[in-house]
């Protein structure tokens, strides 16, 4: 376990180094002078020189690179160009909201997945099975932001059932729509995967044993099939962490949900490069860490899996 975790944490370091290198290259590719951006168009040459020295822009590229890494190791991702606070502080402030939204999305996804995945495996080719298939195809074909706007229009504006986006008390009222926008379509997508996995499992010998004992199909699927069938689905869920957070980023902008995604979007509009880059680095490292957690959880769920 200890050796496993050390090895995986080393992997996170590699990811962090990779992302920092990519972002450094990106920043270096910015056309124009960063110092002019900070100083404004009317700054004198001397002021510009001073800013350049302060940011280390007068140094050779490789020294800038080492400095960039060194700063990042100390949790310093620079100063936001518009918010007048360090990048990391700004991100950490929005982290709880993003985590809450992501958790709600996963909760809805799992619920929808279990209900419709099991039902479509139990009643093959029934109306519900076909409906799940159609909705799963739709879920990967419809833009998430568009679903969000349509829900805002119908549920919040026309029917006046929920608030029109934002973040306030009671949080749950503001949380439902954005979470459902991403969670319900995602749930149907995973329901199809669960159904396929259930079908595979139902061909196993121990299922035949259960059937020969005279157990009802429902008991076979739920009690005997599901625990094994759900494991590959959980692996896929863990692999999809990136697209989950990517979706949350977009949904946040639609519903003005004050999380990291909305922050990244607003900083793009304000051309606040350090802040945009900061959100990228932060999420990449967060996802690498979450993947370790997901792997450990898999061992807890499935005793056959060994950490290697």
């Amino acid at each position: 376990m200890i050796t496993y975790l050390t090895r995986r944490l080393f992997g996170v370091l590699v990811v962090a180094l990779g992302v920092l290198t990519i972002t450094f290259v990106l920043i270096s590719l910015i056309p124009g002078d960063v110092a002019t951006f900070y100083a404004g168009p009317h700054a004198t040459g001397q002021v510009l020189q001073e800013i350049r020295r302060e940011l280390g822009l007068d140094q050779p590229k490789y020294i800038q690179y080492v400095r960039y890494l060194w700063q990042a190791v100390h949790g310093n991702f620079g100063q936001s160009a518009t918010l007048d606070e360090p990048v990391l502080t700004a991100i950490l402030q929005r982290l709880p909201q993003t985590a809450m939204l992501a958790a709600a999305v996963v909760l809805i996804e799992m619920t929808v997945m279990l209900i419709f995945g099991i039902l479509s495996a139990l009643y093959e080719d029934s109306l519900i099975d076909r409906l799940t298939a159609v909705l799963a195809a739709l879920s990967v074909s419809l833009p998430g932001f568009w679903i969000g706007i349509m829900l805002l229009l119908i549920v919040a504006y026309k029917l006046n059932l929920l608030p029109l986006g934002g973040y306030d008390n009671p949080v749950i009222a503001y949380l439902i729509l954005p979470a459902a926008t991403q969670g319900v379509p995602g749930g149907f997508w995973y329901a199809r995967i669960l159904k396929a996995s259930l079908e595979d499992t139902l061909h196993e010998d121990y299922i035949r044993t259960a059937r020969s004992k005279g157990l009802a199909q429902r008991a076979i699927v739920i009690r005997h099939g599901l625990p094994n069938a759900i494991i590959p689905v959980i692996t896929i869920l863990a692999m999809d962490l990136g697209s989950l957070l990517g979706g949350v980023v977009v949904i946040e902008t639609v519903f003005s949900w004050p999380g990291i995604g909305l922050l990244a979007y607003q900083s793009l509009l304000n051309l606040d490069v350090p802040l945009v880059i900061g959100t990228v680095v932060f999420t990449a490292i967060a996802i690498a860490l979450l993947n370790i957690v997901a792997d450990v959880l898999r061992v807890v769920i499935d005793p056959r899996v060994r950490l290697a």
Binding site: V14, V15, G18, V19, T23, L26, I27, L29, I30, P31, A137, L138, V140, S141, L142, P143, G144, F145, W146, I149, M150, L152, L153, Y157, M239, L241, G242, S243, L245, G246, G247, V249, V250, T253, G261, A264, Y265, S267, L268, L269, L271, D272, V273, V276, I277, T279, V280, T283, A284, I287, A288, N291
Partner: protein, 312 residues
């Protein structure tokens, strides 16, 4: 099919047949036959054919946009807004109404189809090429190449693409070209991973061994003997890839990180209509429906291709 026969004969014969190379002629013939049967299978699927027809209609509309569009898509008409500056509903002059800047929505939808399809197809070509090449060399060569590429794949797969798109847009001036590059650079990994595992087992098969035995170079084995086996996977993935690339382009453009204004893109049209969606939902509804129909069609075609090419 040719190769599975070859794999069954004893090793000596396999090398002998590789030496006399009946392989090439037979293979070309077998591949053509396989394509024909796959197409026949695909054609029998009514849903897939309907989706293909829908795609053809959109392609036609995109090509003929200059002829079909009633107005200049980027011109804001003074009579395209109400007196207090609101967009118009549908009328004889503006069949689907106008947007917040008084531009004709129908014309913008038609020109938007051009952007969506161009970006979707070009990004897919690029990402399929990337996935094939990187997947094949990591699966074939192993060693450091394998480690570096598989690590890169793992890292990029677990990454929120949208954020990377935002970062790229903050750094480069957004354009159609940067959008295509961002999409391709962030979508090649799934195919690369599939190709990687396929090549890993293909290179151990007897036909590859036979080719190696008679002294065929690595690159030539990849190009002539392994790549043809990856065709069905690449084609299937490309169909899905066009759909997801169109979706990603729309998402990036919606976030001001894709195709820049005033160029009409379905994603940026939704963004533009956002300020008025309560009074005039059509501004958001139409481009969204276009997106949904096109992307769904590519998904259905992809499913059809998968079934048609897999069944042997």
């Amino acid at each position: 099919m040719q190769h599975s026969n070859l794999a069954e004969v004893p090793g000596g014969q396999a090398i002998a047949s590789a030496l006399t190379t009946p392989d090439d002629d037979d293979r070309v013939w077998a591949a053509a036959a396989q394509r024909r049967t796959a197409w026949a299978r695909f054609r029998r699927r009514r849903l897939s054919m309907a989706a293909l027809l829908v795609i053809a209609l959109f392609v036609l509309a995109a090509i003929l946009a200059p002829l079909l569009a009633p107005h200049d898509p980027n011109f804001g008409y003074v009579n395209g807004l109400t007196r207090d500056g609101r967009p118009l509903g549908s009328s004889a002059t503006f069949p689907l109404g106008t947007d917040t800047l008084g531009r004709d929505v129908l014309s913008r939808l038609l020109y938007g189809a051009r952007i969506s399809l161009t970006v979707g197809v070009l990004a897919t070509l690029l990402l399929v090429a990337l996935g094939l090449v990187l997947g094949a060399i990591s699966g074939f060569f192993g060693g450091l190449t394998e480690t570096v590429i598989t690590r890169l794949v793992d890292m990029l797969l677990a990454f929120p693409v949208v954020l990377l798109g935002l970062a790229a847009a903050a750094v480069f001036t957004p354009s159609v070209l940067t959008t295509i590059i961002v999409i391709a650079a962030t979508q090649w990994m799934v195919l690369a991973r599939v190709v990687y595992s396929m090549v890993g087992s293909l290179k151990e098969r007897q036909f590859a061994e036979a080719a190696r035995a008679v002294g065929v170079g690595s690159w030539r084995i990849i190009w002539r003997h392994i790549l043809p086996h990856l065709g069905p996977v690449a084609i299937t993935y490309a169909a899905f890839g066009v759909g997801s690339s169109i979706l990603l382009e729309a998402t990036l453009s919606y976030l001001n990180a894709g195709v820049p204004p005033p160029t009409a893109s379905w994603g940026s049209m939704i963004n533009n209509g956002l300020t008025y969606y309560r009074d005039d939902p059509a501004l958001v509804l139409y481009p969204g429906l276009c997106l949904a129909v096109v992307v769904l069609s590519f998904t259905v075609v992809g499913e059809g291709l998968k079934k048609a090419l897999q069944a042997r």
